[in-house]
């Protein structure tokens, strides 16, 4: 703990990042309780009013829905999806990457080639196509699909860290002790690779927010009435001239969260990997 404080002092920017993340977490947990409006409530008297008018702190959109309420509610879904995605894709990626790297040879070749195929399709396009085919996306399907789109990247990172650890002598020592493969992979090697894997997971967290927002913007994300930051941007695009705030605030929300998480992930990598 003291060490973390020492590192924070050395990297003051990380404090900003962590503060923004905490702000959004608070918003997601208790934000809705502090609001005057709900995200679906239509205030037909106050359509397209500017920030601060009639109790709408960030204004309203063309239907008269409160922007603040929708941004706050939107943080819930986006954080849930992004968190689950980063956990799930790391989990699958570690299992796949470890298996491939550990056994090597043909297993590894098959793994690498299939990952190449998956990577050849941009993750955004891949998820769009699958989501488009599936139709209405829910939090579950969105999480699954974005995770799958991210698996090649996490798997490759896990394979890389495994390969450097695999040549260590403690692995040889475990082998001539007659340990089985699963034990060597997950009891001997895994604890020593947590640094890079956690860093990758936090970076994935930022990527998945971008991804979910992009999918929302493209109209294949979460379906209305669930508020989605990406979707809010596209919904209000036609009225951007009259109500710039309706586009601006969700965009700021996306940007602040993504940048904050990226800063945080940088910090984590400095603490866990570089300054050991």
């Amino acid at each position: 703990m003291k060490y973390i404080l020492y590192q924070l002092k050395k990297h003051p920017l990380a404090i900003v990042g962590i503060a923004v993340i905490i702000f959004w977490l608070i918003m997601a947990f208790i934000g809705p309780a502090m609001l005057n409006f709900t995200h679906t409530q239509i205030d037909s008297e106050n359509q397209i009013v500017g920030p601060g008018v009639n109790g709408h702190l960030l204004g309203t959109d063309s239907l008269g829905r409160d922007i603040l309420a929708r941004v706050v509610y939107g943080s819930r879904s986006i954080l849930t999806v992004a968190l689950l995605t980063s956990i799930l894709s790391t989990f699958i990626g570690v299992i796949l990457g470890f298996t491939a790297g550990y056994f090597g040879g043909k297993t590894d070749t098959i793994f690498l080639r299939s990952m190449d195929i998956l990577m050849a399709i941009p993750p955004l396009v891949l998820s769009m196509v699958i989501l488009g085919i599936l139709g209405d996306s829910t939090i579950v399907s969105l999480t699954l699909i974005v995770s799958i789109a991210f698996v090649p990247a996490t798997a490759r990172v896990s394979r890389g860290v495994l390969l450097t650890e695999k040549s260590q002598e403690y692995v040889s020592a475990a082998r001539i002790r007659g340990e089985n493969h699963i034990y060597i992979m997950f009891v001997e090697i895994l604890p020593n690779t947590t640094g890079p894997i956690i860093v990758e997971a936090t970076a994935r967290f930022a990527y998945s927010i971008m991804m979910v927002a992009s999918l929302g913007f493209l109209g294949v994300g979460l379906q209305p009435p669930t508020p989605d930051w990406g979707m809010m941007v596209i919904e209000n695009k036609p009225v951007i001239a009259q109500a710039p705030w309706a586009v601006l605030f969700p965009a700021i929300a996306i940007a602040s969260l993504v940048i904050a998480i990226s800063i945080f992930s940088d910090f984590v990598s400095k603490v866990l990997i570089h300054e050991r």
Partner: protein, 663 residues
């Protein structure tokens, strides 16, 4: 004073870290005259490298330096980075420990060397190349033009280091700093490099600072010796005086703990220095060595200061021969000696290796081990010695099951075990244990000591009750001189010697019959090496396990082994009982190895037999004697043409050479 090229005055180097200020060099004053050479010696963590780095001003950004370093009357610490550039590489040059990381792998050797003279002496490209070739010639490198065209990875480690030295010499510096330049190299290469350094120093009128942990090496190149401990100079003076009359207990202990040539386990127990270098706070008084010193008295904790002992001999303490020490410490170190068993029948061999081959790679073959036969008797120690790349580790790894032999058989208690680990049965896995070279890497960094040792017990000795296991672990830790408090520690919290003790404990915990020790002491400090060797010997006597001890250090092998096997290029060069092999050596290679070992005692200087050339290309199957190309006793054409037949000198002693014993 015009006669000193370098004067260091009250130099302090501190690093500000998470744990607060850490003193690496504490109040060091030193002078170096023109054409003089100084050897700095001490254990790792004593600040000797930091001292040499601070002369070059190569220090990390969190370093706080004060004091003065005067090079020809100019304080280097007051220079700007730009001004420093004029000194670095030009007037003051440095050679680092690791040649492969100090050469750029993407550029040719010639290009990298040319750059130096183009930058510093503003030579034209052509003139620079000429200087490069000249420098390479100075280091006795055959075919300098060819080498200049090659990339660093295309030459061997020894040649790389000679190239690094040639690079340092390009601008004819007045001061050359060498930071353990031969530590990573074989003894034979080391001998060649040390000789050329010595010769060039006189030829080019350089002053030399040579940093090493090895008394033998310092003895060869330096005229003055500086002993550092925990960032402070504890003793300095002319070499001869330091060796003859070390005044500080640390110096004396350091000289005594090296296993010298001719010291064997039956007669002597190695001297050790208990404990390890303690990190000191910034302003701690007293002698830094006090907590490890067996000659300490009441004043040691408070008083400290360097005094003059001889004409040029300074020391911080003169209690090296003090006799007013507690009675317990007078106890003479007596080694445990194995009792000779009276069962007259020759014991059946524990391990028998027949025509063992290992070939790596499929397309480009590397012949690592080329058909060796040997056997290991139970309760005996066989030492395998040879330069790096001779196949000694591969042999050990095949016996322990890490690799499957390509051809040949390994019989353990008459059971064929020439299969890989995953096909071996539990009994075999339990009976053959392996101790690795680098304890830091062979212990899982995220497991505790208890987990590390306990897992082997649970897996191979079927002790499933955790309490029973814990008790056994505690007793085994006690055997390797570690206390109960180590159970919950992780390898990172232990020193190198402690880590190796844990590794030894792990191997012993399941009472194996054969322990393969793959250079277990070469990653350790000399003082720690001595205590680990003592421990290994005591435990061998106690547990009656057989050892297969692999090392590149003949002194260590000589100390511990009953049988010695000398390997060269995947073949056995000589095999026999220790005394048969060592006095005198029969095979020319054994002779060369023996002569290359640096002598600790300066009165016993010897001329090493210089082995020129390199190991034969392991990708080709040699036709004649593999050693023929480097042999100093070649008898003739036959050496190149025919593999020599076995010469039997006695029942237990044989070697492969065309030179037959006379009568």
């Amino acid at each position: 004073m015009k006669d000193n090229i370098l004067e260091i005055e009250n130099l302090n180097v501190r690093f500000s870290t998470f744990d607060g200020l850490f003193t690496a060099v504490n109040n060091v004053s030193l002078t170096l005259g023109y054409n003089e050479s100084i050897g700095i010696i001490g254990e790792s963590g004593c600040g000797k490298s930091t001292l040499s780095f601070s002369v070059m001003r190569y220090l990390a950004s969190n370093a706080v330096v004060d004091g003065a370093i005067r090079y020809k009357e100019e304080n280097l610490l007051e220079k700007s980075e730009r001004e420093m550039e004029k000194y670095r590489g030009d007037r003051i040059a440095m050679v680092f420990q690791n040649p492969y990381s100090s050469l750029n792998p993407a550029l040719t050797i010639g290009f990298q060397l040319d750059e130096v003279s183009i930058h510093h002496q503003k030579l034209s490209k052509k003139a620079a190349r000429k200087a490069t070739i000249e420098a390479l010639e100075m280091m006795n490198l055959g075919d300098p033009k060819g080498i200049a065209r090659r990339y660093p990875h295309q030459v061997s480690g020894g040649i790389q280091q000679r190239i690094c030295i040639a690079m340092a010499l390009l601008c004819r510096p007045d001061l050359l700093l060498l930071d353990e330049p031969t530590t990573a190299l074989d003894v034979t290469t080391e001998a060649v490099i040390l000789d050329s350094i010595k010769e060039l120093k006189d030829r080019l009128n350089m002053s030399l600072i040579y940093v090493s942990h090895d008394m033998g090496v310092i003895n060869k190149v330096a005229e003055h010796v500086v002993v550092m401990y925990s960032g402070e100079i504890v003793e300095r003076g002319p070499k001869q005086e330091i060796f003859d009359h070390p005044s500080h207990p640390y110096t004396r202990a350091l000289i005594n703990c090296m296993p010298r040539g001719g010291v064997v386990k039956e007669k002597t127990k190695l001297n050790t220095i208990p404990g390890y270098v303690r990190r000191r706070g910034a302003n701690e008084g007293g002698c830094p060595f006090v907590d490890r010193c067996d000659k300490r008295n009441d004043t040691c904790e408070s008083k400290y200061g360097v005094r003059q002992v001889g004409e040029k001999h300074f020391a911080a303490c003169d209690r090296a021969y003090a006799t007013d020490i507690p009675e317990v410490l007078h106890e003479k170190l007596v080694p445990k000696v194995r009792e000779t068993r009276e069962d007259a029948t020759k014991p059946t061999d524990l391990l028998r290796v027949e025509q063992l081959h290992k070939i790596y790679g499929s397309r480009r073959k590397v012949y690592a081990v080329n058909g060796i036969d040997f056997s290991v008797e139970p309760r005996s120690v066989i030492g395998i010695v040879g330069e790096s790349g001779c196949g000694k580790s591969t042999t050990g790894h095949m016996v322990s099951g890490l690799y499957k032999p390509t051809k040949g058989r390994i019989l353990f208690n008459d059971v064929d075990i020439s299969i890989a680990w995953n096909k071996r049965n539990k009994e075999t896995l339990k009976n053959i244990q392996l101790i690795f070279q680098n304890p830091g890497r062979s212990l899982n960094p995220s497991h505790t000591v208890e987990q590390i040792i306990g897992r082997a017990m649970k897996k191979l000795a079927d002790i499933s009750d955790p309490n029973e296991r814990r008790e056994k672990i505690i007793s085994i830790l006690k055997k390797v001189d570690l206390g109960k408090e180590y159970l919950e520690k992780k390898p990172r919290q232990l020193s190198g010697g402690e880590q190796q003790r844990v590794a030894i404990a792990r191997a012993l915990s399941i009472s194996p019959n054969l322990i393969v020790c793959d250079e277990p002491t070469s990653a350790l400090d000399v003082s720690v090496q001595a205590s680990v060797l003592n421990l290994l010997n005591d435990l061998q006597v106690e547990t009656e396990a057989a050892y297969m001890f692999i090392s590149h250090d003949l002194n260590v092998i000589n100390y511990l082994s009953d049988y010695i096997m000398v390997m060269y290029a995947g073949k056995i060069a000589e095999y026999g009982k220790r005394d048969e092999v060592m006095n005198p050596p029969f095979h020319p290679y054994t002779e060369a190895l023996l002569s290359a070992v640096p002598e600790v005692d300066p009165t016993k200087q010897k001329d090493p037999i210089e082995l020129l050339g390199q190991l034969p290309d392991p990708a080709k199957k040699p036709k004649g004697c593999p050693f023929a190309g480097r042999c100093h006793r070649q008898v003739g054409e036959i050496c190149e043409r025919e593999y020599p037949s076995m010469v039997t000198a006695s029942d237990t002693h044989y070697y492969y050479c065309h030179i037959k014993p006379t009568a």
